[in-house]
């Protein structure tokens, strides 16, 4: 009786996601079996092996594409791209975490479990073809992140960030669901293919309700991607979270939010796109400018990177609003590049920070004379800062170049100019850090504490560094991959 239903499920297409959930279950059991307080190492190793299996399953199942679960999700090149990106980011974050949570005195296995659950949510978002699955993915991701942000319980900043993120996030979720409900009221379905079929049949007589629904859904995505004016939670949440989580949050969930944003707006609301570009134009300008202006004034590197992550989301919106294949490919390209350079920068910030028990920490002052103390680390930081500022020969340059080129190509010359100007402003605060590193003064010598460098941090920073330079010199391979990944969307 259920044969057709089972055949429609195509469970084999979801093997990476099933692996993630299975891995979470195994990790819970490992945590329970090992003696209390000493289980995190075992859980970490389990999770690393499991994530390797997830990545392997993704690569091996690359050809197994198509819809699954009756069209609720779709596995295509786009899904493949984000599965790889998200799983690899999670892998790297888990790799560097063990010593760091020991340093923060939060050695609990739930750290890894929550990372896995949020990875599962993000994977759902990347493959969702139904607004309800998008919602489910967003919630699975967010609820785990709320807890992760507040993990260093003895710090006020951590609690503050978590509660702000949680309250605003819960509120935005309600707005997002309301948008879905309105859309369902218009179309009678939450499937994005049904939505586009219905809306394109309407022609010019688009009902007001559809605009309202799409607008509320836009707010939901804007919040998750921390776009101005829905960004208020992000600086505090980023600052309060354990820094490995900040690195994770500013890369993976952002990528997942943009993945779902792109799929939903390009496919479901493609008919309304002309008008949304006006809204997104302003969002892009505000996001870039606002993030930049506030990043200028920070004296904490962690907070500076938090605001700079808002700015980078603004660049991504530029690529998004072009509504063509070139722009979408530029966005995917930039997401990878941004993940690499941001992970690297945050990990070095962890290494340089002297005292984790301090409420804020991560001062610019700690970087004074870094190049004389640890030249390799300082040079790596230099490369990441140049990449974030978008200066060749790093990958950051090509990331920005493709985005602005796609904007010009789609006729948004003004927006591209504003983007370039913002990029020029951002050079100031990125290079300010570089200047600090090259300063030699006596006062700094006295403040010097030992650097906190573990083997894992060295390895991951080195990997990010090599990739940032490699992609900067040979961007074609990644760009081709990104272009192929968005083929089925447009």
């Amino acid at each position: 009786m259920f044969d057709s239903l089972i055949a429609d499920m195509h469970v084999s297409r979801l093997i990476p996601e099933i692996f993630v959930i299975g891995l979470a279950l195994v990790a819970i059991l490992v945590d329970v079996v090992l003696p209390r307080g000493r289980s995190t190492r075992g859980v970490q190793i389990t999770v690393l092996i499991g994530l390797f299996a997830v990545i392997a399953a993704t690569v091996l199942g690359k050809e197994n594409t198509g819809e699954a679960f009756g069209g609720m999700v779709v596995v295509d090149g786009f899904t493949f791209f984000f599965r790889l990106l998200l799983a690899i980011i999670t892998f790297l974050v888990v790799l560097v975490s063990e010593h760091y949570i020991e340093r923060l005195n939060i050695r609990i296995a739930e750290y890894y479990l929550l990372l896995l659950f949020s990875l599962f949510g993000m994977l759902l978002m990347a493959m969702a073809q139904d607004l309800l699955i998008v919602f489910l993915g967003i919630e699975t991701m967010s609820v785990s992140l709320y807890a992760l942000v507040g993990l260093s319980r003895q710090k006020h900043t951590s609690n503050e960030g978590a509660i702000k993120y949680f309250l605003l996030g819960a509120f935005t979720t309600a707005i997002f669901v309301y948008g879905i409900a309105l859309m369902f009221g218009v179309v009678g379905s939450t499937n994005i293919n049904d939505i586009v079929t219905f809306l394109s049949g309407l022609g010019d007589s688009m009902p007001l309700l559809a605009w309202a629904g799409a607008g509320l859904i836009l707010i939901g995505f804007g919040f998750k991607a921390a776009l101005v004016p829905f960004h208020w939670w992000s600086p505090d949440a980023y600052e309060g979270a354990p820094t490995t989580i900040t690195a994770f949050m500013s890369t993976a969930p952002k990528a997942a939010a943009f993945a779902a944003f792109l799929r939903v707006f390009y496919i479901a609301f493609g008919e309304m796109w002309g008008e949304w570009t006006v809204v997104l134009w302003w969002i892009a300008v505000l996001t870039m400018t606002f993030g930049n202006l506030l990043a200028l004034r920070q004296d904490s590197v962690k907070r500076m990177l938090a605001f700079s992550s808002i700015t980078h989301a603004g660049y991504l919106v530029i690529a998004l609003l072009t509504f063509d294949r070139i722009g979408a490919a530029a966005m995917l390209f930039y997401l990878v590049v941004y993940a690499l350079m941001n992970l690297g920068a945050f990990l070095i910030a962890i290494a340089v920070n002297r005292d984790e028990s301090e409420e804020k920490g991560y001062w610019f002052d700690d970087y004074k004379g870094l190049v004389f103390r640890k030249p390799a680390l300082a040079l790596a930081m230099l490369v990441f800062m140049l990449a974030l500022a978008g200066i060749p020969p790093t990958a950051g340059f090509f990331g920005k170049y493709y985005i602005f080129a796609s904007a010009v190509n789609a006729g948004f010359v003004g927006l591209a100019v504003i983007g370039v100007l913002n990029s020029a402003v951002s050079v100031y605060y990125y290079l300010r850090l570089v200047v600090y590193m090259f300063l030699r003064d006596r006062e700094a010598r006295e403040r010097e504490g030992p650097l906190w460098i573990t083997d894992e941090i060295t390895n991951v920073v080195f990997l990010c560094l090599v990739l940032v330079l490699l992609v900067g010199l040979f961007p074609d391979a990644l760009l081709t991959f990104a272009t192929n990944s968005v083929k089925m969307l447009l």
Binding site: M1, F2, I6, I28, V32
Partner: protein
């Protein structure tokens, strides 16, 4: 459907609200008022009340409530399945097994973490 079609609903809302306020106002105006200490007391199912309601109590209660909620909802899913178990066949059985495995791991987790111990 045009917005005009919803007019009856709006009228019903008006009648409901109007009736509620009308009866409140009427009892307020006409009803006799004789106060006594017992009448002014907090109503607690007819029993004499004990202390103030604004006191702190242990976070353990919340934990128990949350844990209860999960396994209470489990039953909500199991009942419809149990009723239709023949129709659903192996498909339903496998689905339910997966669901129960997930929950069992959760139970094991909270048990081993000591969430079920009161002290």
């Amino acid at each position: 459907m045009t917005p005009g079609d919803y007019l009856p609903i709006l009228i019903v809302f008006g009648i409901v609200g109007g009736f509620a306020y009308f009866s409140l106002a009427l009892t307020h105006l006409l009803g006799p008022r004789r106060y006594a200490p017992i009448k002014q007391d907090t109503y607690e199912c007819g029993v004499d009340y004990v202390g103030d309601s604004r006191q702190r109590f242990s976070v353990k209660f919340y934990l128990v409530a949350v844990l209860f909620l999960i396994f209470d909802l489990e039953v909500v899913f199991m009942y419809p399945w149990a009723v239709n178990v023949r129709t659903l066949g192996w498909f339903g059985f496998v689905t339910m097994t997966i669901f129960l495995v997930l929950l069992t791991v959760g139970l094991l987790y909270e048990w081993k973490k000591g969430a079920l111990e009161w002290e």
